[in-house]
């Protein structure tokens, strides 16, 4: 009996593996060729860059929400802190793009780690509320500390520096295609790390906590510690995305930390499918393109974005990927 299973399993597993490899190849192919096909559909490279960065943010939110079952509604704070960290570094410390990203990621991630330790015992809506409120603390700091952050006017006066690769320098400031590929490489690195963690035993304990916290606790998993670790990791990813966002705009502003921005990240994750690794990226693509498109058509685009939230909640609670999967299966 065991032998039979062992023989059958590899076939099924191989097919599964082949399918996911094909899927991966498709995703990376589409992303890698984006600057070439997007103009034909009325897109533009800057839009693609924005999708990647916000998609990474949504994936970071989903790392916590979709895979651990913990809803943070204040994650924009870490995104925004990443942006400010990156911008302030470029403006005041050194003119280096990679180092500024490191600085932004550290700022957001470390603050997230500290805050996370305070709130990790809260659950459900209460956790969501506390994260909103703490997120707003950082919003107000960015808003009020005008001498450092530029306050409501935002932080300006920095630009991404050309990449010095030793043998050559790449102009990522004026060449938007080069910058797109730079962001794509950063995105790929973050996604790889995220995927690696999720496939690890630690990643499976995340699923365990999401599925059944009590069972997980009595398997001997220290729940609070694990949630804190996941929260912190998620904050680091978020801050990394935020740093890239500062480079996209050469700018950082308080609105990037506002809870409404957090809401956008969550809806991107849910819209794409929060049980799926690539769901949030799809969600971000749909959300960003839709917003870009509708807001050019009508001043009342906010109404339609609100409607999108309602429709997703009522009709696509498992997201687009979940919806398609269900259709395929039935």
């Amino acid at each position: 009996m065991t032998a039979a299973v062992d023989k059958a399993a590899p076939v099924a597993a191989n097919r599964e593996r082949a399918r996911s490899l094909a899927m991966l190849a498709a995703i990376w192919g589409v992303l890698a060729l984006a600057p070439f096909w997007m103009p034909y559909l009325g897109g533009y490279t800057a839009l693609g860059t924005r999708v990647l960065v916000l998609g990474l943010g949504a994936m970071a939110v989903n790392f916590l929400l979709g895979f651990t079952g913990v809803l943070s509604f204040g994650h924009a704070a870490w995104f925004g802190l990443g942006a400010y960290g990156c911008g302030l570094f470029l403006k005041f410390i050194a003119h280096s793009t990679p180092l500024s990203i490191v600085a932004g990621t550290l700022l957001g991630g470390v603050m997230g780690a500290i805050l996370g330790a305070l709130i990790v015992r809260r659950r459900g809506v209460y956790f969501a509320m506390v994260t909103i409120a703490f997120g707003q603390v950082f919003y107000y700091i960015a808003f009020q500390w005008s001498s450092l952050t530029g306050g409501d006017d935002g932080l300006r006066g920095f630009q991404r520096a050309p990449l010095d690769l030793g043998f050559t320098t790449v102009d990522i400031l004026y060449n938007s295609t080069a910058f797109y590929y730079f962001v794509l490489i950063c995105f790929a690195a973050a996604a790889a790390v995220m995927g690696f963690i999720l496939r690890s035993p630690f990643g499976r304990t995340m699923l365990a906590i999401r599925e059944n916290e009590r069972r997980a606790r009595f398997l001997g998993i220290p729940i609070e510690l694990h949630i804190w670790i996941v929260f912190t990791l998620s904050c680091f990813f978020m801050a990394f995305a935020g740093s890239l966002y500062a480079l996209v705009n050469n700018f950082a502003d308080p609105l990037g930390l506002h809870y409404s921005q957090s809401g956008n990240f969550v809806i991107m994750a849910v819209l794409g499918g929060m049980r799926k690794f690539w769901g949030p990226l799809l969600g971000a693509a749909v959300f960003v393109v839709l917003q870009d498109y509708v807001s050019s058509l009508t001043v009342n685009w906010q109404f339609f974005i609100g409607l999108l939230f309602v429709v997703v909640v009522l009709f696509f609670p498992r997201g687009l990927l979940g919806f398609f999967q269900q259709r395929v299966q039935s």
Partner: protein, 249 residues
């Protein structure tokens, strides 16, 4: 040497005394049943042992160490595993993944099992062993939430077992099951107890199961211990009969 010793444990919720000065010792290799009418405090007593609740007074000693104040996860690391009255599994994962998580946690989810192919193979092999033992092999790749109640319960027991516990706490393992499922689960528990010489404490409602499995039985009523002894002694105990068996029948 005694594996588990509960010393005069009590638990109060406000004015309500749920467990009132209960003591118990369990020797290695023993299968102990805890019975009692509804509201006798059996589950609360279990929660005190496993660390889900902390006693208002009294001590819990496990393998010579005072664990009264330890968090549940720490007790698990010391070799105590439990199941719940209402089955607690990971419904949206497959049976294989459920067991795999438990096996990995038991092996300390160290970087080694993550990176080395050999260690990974060991984990997989252990999962297959557990599946074999419980007869879940055919259903290994289905979502646990979609399995029959008895299979879910078997998965939960095997997850507890995957932790390689020295003490297994089972809270009403046959609750809500039909005859066939009850029989299967009883056989599984019996196998674990006999073949692996595992120490088990279980709460049970079904007297057939209790008298079939248990080495010794403890009876709780209204939070206090009413009697303790072998199945024969308990069957013969008049206080137990009036307080419990009589009513239950």
């Amino acid at each position: 040497m005694t594996l588990l010793r509960v010393e005069n444990a009590s638990k109060k919720f406000g004015d309500l005394v749920a467990v009132d000065g209960v003591s118990m010792t369990v020797e290695p290799g023993e299968l102990r049943a805890v019975i009692g009418p509804n509201g006798a405090g059996k589950t609360t007593f279990f929660n005190l042992i496993s660390g889900f609740l902390t006693p208002s007074s009294g001590r819990i000693v496990f393998d010579g160490e005072d664990v009264t104040k330890l968090l549940p996860a720490r007790r698990v690391w010391r070799g105590m595993a439990r199941t719940f009255q209402i089955t607690e599994v990971f419904p949206e994962l497959t049976a294989r993944e459920n067991l795999r998580i438990a096996v990995e946690v038991a092996s300390g989810y160290r970087l080694k099992t993550w990176l080395s192919r050999d260690a990974d193979g060991e984990v997989r092999a252990r999962v297959v062993d557990l599946l074999d033992m419980s007869g879940l092999v055919d259903k290994a790749d289905r979502l646990v939430g979609e399995l029959a109640h008895g299979d879910q319960r078997a998965t939960e027991i095997m997850m507890a077992l995957a932790l390689r516990p020295r003490l297994l706490l089972l809270d009403e393992p046959t609750a809500g099951m039909g005859d066939k499922e009850t029989y299967d689960i009883t056989q599984l528990i019996r196998k674990l107890h006999k073949n692996q010489n595992l120490t088990i404490v279980l709460i049970e409602h079904d007297m057939r199961v209790v008298f079939h499995l248990a080495d010794r039985i403890m009876v709780l009523a209204e939070g206090a211990m009413l009697a303790e002894g072998t199945p024969q002694e308990i069957a013969a105990n008049e206080a137990v009969q009036t307080a419990y068996l009589g009513k239950a029948a």
